[in-house]
C-alpha cells in the first residue's frame, strides 16, 4: 500500500488553504464548516486546481510539471450527499467505473437485492453503501470521504459508523476523511488533523490530541477521550471491559465492541484510590502534564483529565507519578464501533 503525500496550497475565497500531510492509514481532518475541509479532498481528486505536490507512492499526481486530470488520479471519492447518478440503477452506478468487480461489490455491501433500483428509492444508509461500492469499483489508490456520516439520521449513523470502521480496516487504503464531528473522526481514524481557516493546527492520534492540544481551539474542538472495550449489560449498568484491562461502568445501553467517550473536564484526579461505587476509577502513570491557560491536562494511563493549576500543585502531579482518574458512570458515553 503506497502512502499519500500532500504538500500543496489552494487559494480559497477568504484564505489560502495549505496543507502538508502524509497519509498511510486513515487520517481524519476535522474543523468548523468553512475551514476548507472539502477543498482538501477536491484538490487531491484534481477537482480544484492546487499548487504544490500530491503523490501516491512513486506516482506523482501534482508537481514536477505534472497535473493529472481527475479521471487519471485513481481516487475513490465519496461525496457528502453521495452524488449517485439519479438516472442510473444501483448496478449501473457501481459499474460506471468498471464492470469487473461489480457483482462482488454488490454482495459485499449487501446491496445486491437493490441492483435494479434507482438511487431515489434508497434510504440514506443504502445510498452510502452504493457510493462506497462505486468508489471502490474504481480500484482506487486512495479513498476520500467527505462527511461520511453527516447526511444520516442518528440511528443510521451508528450502524454506518460501525460498517465504515470495519471497511476501513479491510480495504487498507490510505484514507482521508473530513468531518465536522470530532467524535466521528476519533472513532474512525488513526490520526486526526484539526483544520482551521485553511491551515492544519495539529495532527496527532486522538489520545494525543486530548492530552496535548496545540491551542485552546483544538482543546475546545477535540474534546473527548476515546477508549475501546467490550460491553455487557448487567441490570441498569453496562460493564465495559477495556482493551487496557480495566473494567468501567456506564449508564448507556450497549453490547459488544464499543468506544467509551469521556470528556476531560468530567474526570477527577486523586493520588489515592477512592471506593465510591458510582465512580469509574482508572489507575495509571502520569504520562504528561500540559498547561492550557489556567487549566492543565493530565494524562493518566490511557485517559486525559482536565484540572485546575492549583489542583496540580496541591496533588503534586508530575510526570512519572501514579494517579487515579475518576469519573461517573452517568458521564460515560458509549458509542458502537
Amino acid at each position: 500500500m503506497a502512502a499519500l503525500h500532500l504538500d500543496f496550497s489552494l487559494p480559497l475565497r477568504d484564505f489560502e488553504l495549505s496543507l502538508a500531510l502524509g497519509v498511510s492509514r486513515t487520517v481524519a481532518l476535522v474543523g468548523p464548516s468553512g475551514a476548507g475541509k472539502t477543498s482538501v479532498l477536491r484538490a487531491v481528486a484534481g477537482l480544484a486546481r492546487a499548487r504544490g505536490r500530491i503523490a501516491v507512492g512513486e506516482e506523482t499526481w501534482l508537481g514536477d510539471g505534472v497535473d493529472r486530470r481527475p479521471e487519471e488520479r485513481r481516487v475513490g471519492l465519496v461525496f457528502q450527499e453521495y452524488a449517485l447518478f439519479p438516472h442510473l440503477s444501483v448496478r449501473a452506478n457501481v459499474a460506471y467505473a468498471g464492470r469487473a468487480r461489480v457483482d462482488g461489490l454488490l454482495e459485499r455491501f449487501g446491496i445486491a437485492h437493490l441492483a435494479a433500483a434507482k438511487p431515489g428509492e434508497l434510504s440514506g444508509g443504502e445510498r452510502q453503501r452504493v457510493a462506497l461500492a462505486r468508489a471502490l469499483a474504481r480500484d482506487p489508490a486512495v479513498l476520500l470521504l467527505d462527511e461520511p456520516l453527516a447526511a444520516l439520521d442518528a440511528h443510521t449513523k451508528t450502524v454506518v459508523r460501525t460498517e465504515l470502521h470495519q471497511l476501513l480496516g479491510e480495504v487498507r487504503l490510505p484514507t482521508l476523511l473530513v468531518t465536522h464531528d470530532y467524535g466521528d473522526a476519533a472513532s474512525l481514524a488513526d490520526e486526526v488533523g484539526v483544520l482551521v481557516a485553511g491551515s492544519l493546527r495539529q495532527l496527532a492520534t486522538p489520545a494525543e490530541l486530548v492530552a496535548r492540544p496545540a491551542d485552546a481551539f483544538v482543546a475546545a474542538f477535540t474534546g473527548a477521550n476515546l477508549l475501546h472495550g467490550t460491553a455487557t449489560r448487567h441490570g441498569d449498568l453496562t460493564h465495559v471491559q477495556l482493551t487496557s484491562g480495566e473494567r468501567i461502568f456506564s449508564t448507556d445501553e450497549a453490547r459488544g465492541d464499543v468506544g467509551v467517550v469521556v470528556y476531560p473536564w468530567e474526570i477527577g484526579v486523586s493520588r489515592e484510590e477512592t471506593h465510591d461505587s458510582p465512580l469509574n476509577v482508572l489507575r495509571g502513570e502520569i504520562g504528561s502534564v500540559f498547561e492550557l491557560g489556567n487549566r492543565v491536562r493530565v494524562r493518566i494511563g490511557p485517559i486525559t483529565a482536565e484540572v485546575t493549576a492549583s489542583s496540580v500543585e496541591r496533588l503534586d502531579l508530575a510526570r512519572g507519578g501514579v494517579a487515579y482518574a475518576t469519573f461517573k458512570a452517568t458521564g460515560t458515553r458509549l458509542v458502537s464501533l
Partner: protein, 262 residues
C-alpha cells in the same frame, strides 16, 4: 356579500371573454370550410410545394440548431466573466422585430452585405432565417437544463475515471434531456411558423422559398380555402407540439424509472 358575488361574476365574465377571444380564431379556421374540403385542399400543388419546403428547411435548421446550439449552451452554462453579456446577445433575436431580423440577415449575407454571399432568395436563406429566430429559444432552454445538472455528479463521473466526453454523454446529456427536448420543441414550433425574416431575406418563391406560413399569406387573396387548409395544418401541428411539451416531463421521468441497467 353582494359585492363579493359581483367580483366573482366579473372575474368569470372576464375569463369567458379572454378564452373566447383566444379560441375563436382557431375555431373559425375549421368552422368556415368542411373538414373534407380542408383535407382535399391539402393535395393542392401550392400546399404540397410549401409543405416540402417547410419540412426540408425546418429539418435542416433544427439539425443545425441542435448540433451547434447544444455545445454553445454547454459553454454558456459555465460560470465565467462576460457570460451574462454573451447570453444577452444570444437572446437578442428573440425580442427583435422579424422585419429587423430579415433586414439584418440581408445586410450580413446579402450580395452587397458584409459577407457578400449569394444566399438571399435561396433555400439556404430560409434555413438561416429560421435558425436565426428559433435557435435562441433552444439555447436558452439548454443553458437552463445544463445549469440544473448537479456539478457534483460531473465531478463524481470524472473521479470514477470518465473523461469529459464520456461524462457529457452518459451523465450530463441524459439528465439535461427533458429540458433540451422542451427547448427543441419550442424552437421547432417557432421555426415552423417563421414568416417576417424569411419573406425579407428569402422571398416567397413557390417550391423554393415559399414555406407554409408564406403560402398562407400568398394564397389568402388568391384561394382563401387553400390558405385555410394550410392554416388548419399548422394549427394541428402546433397543437400537437404543445401537448407533447406538456406531457414531456412525465414521459421522461417514467422512462428513467423503468429503464434497465445499461
Amino acid at each position: 356579500m353582494t359585492r363579493r358575488v359581483l367580483v366573482a361574476a366579473l372575474a368569470f365574465a372576464a375569463s369567458v371573454v379572454t378564452l373566447g377571444f383566444l379560441v375563436l380564431p382557431v375555431v373559425a379556421v375549421f368552422a368556415r370550410v368542411s373538414p373534407r374540403r380542408l383535407v382535399g385542399q391539402l393535395g393542392n400543388p401550392v400546399v404540397t410545394d410549401a409543405l416540402l419546403v417547410s419540412v426540408k428547411t425546418t429539418a435542416i435548421a433544427q439539425a443545425l440548431i441542435l448540433l451547434l446550439g447544444t455545445p454553445t449552451a454547454y459553454v454558456l452554462a459555465r460560470r465565467f466573466r462576460g457570460r451574462e453579456a454573451l447570453v444577452t446577445l444570444v437572446e437578442l433575436p428573440l425580442v427583435l422585430p422579424p422585419a429587423v431580423a430579415g433586414l439584418g440577415l440581408l445586410a450580413a449575407f446579402g450580395r452587397t452585405g458584409l459577407l457578400q454571399t449569394s444566399f438571399p432568395f435561396t433555400q439556404t436563406a430560409v434555413v438561416l432565417a429560421v435558425a436565426f429566430v428559433a435557435s435562441p429559444l433552444y439555447i436558452r432552454a439548454a443553458i437552463a437544463a445544463f445549469e440544473a445538472v448537479d456539478p457534483d455528479l460531473v465531478a463524481a463521473s470524472r473521479t470514477l475515471g470518465a473523461g469529459l466526453p464520456r461524462t457529457f454523454f452518459r451523465i450530463v446529456l441524459p439528465l439535461a434531456r427533458p429540458g433540451l427536448t422542451a427547448g427543441a420543441a419550442l424552437a421547432f414550433a417557432r421555426g415552423l411558423g417563421e414568416f417576417g425574416a424569411t419573406i425579407m431575406f428569402a422571398g416567397s418563391l413557390r417550391g423554393v422559398t415559399q414555406t407554409l406560413p408564406l403560402a398562407v399569406y400568398s394564397e389568402f387573396d388568391v384561394n382563401f380555402d387553400v390558405a385555410l387548409a394550410v392554416s388548419a395544418l399548422l394549427i394541428v401541428v402546433s397543437a400537437a407540439l404543445l401537448v407533447t411539451l406538456k406531457w414531456l416531463p412525465s414521459i421522461s421521468t417514467s422512462r428513467f424509472r423503468f429503464a434497465t441497467s445499461s
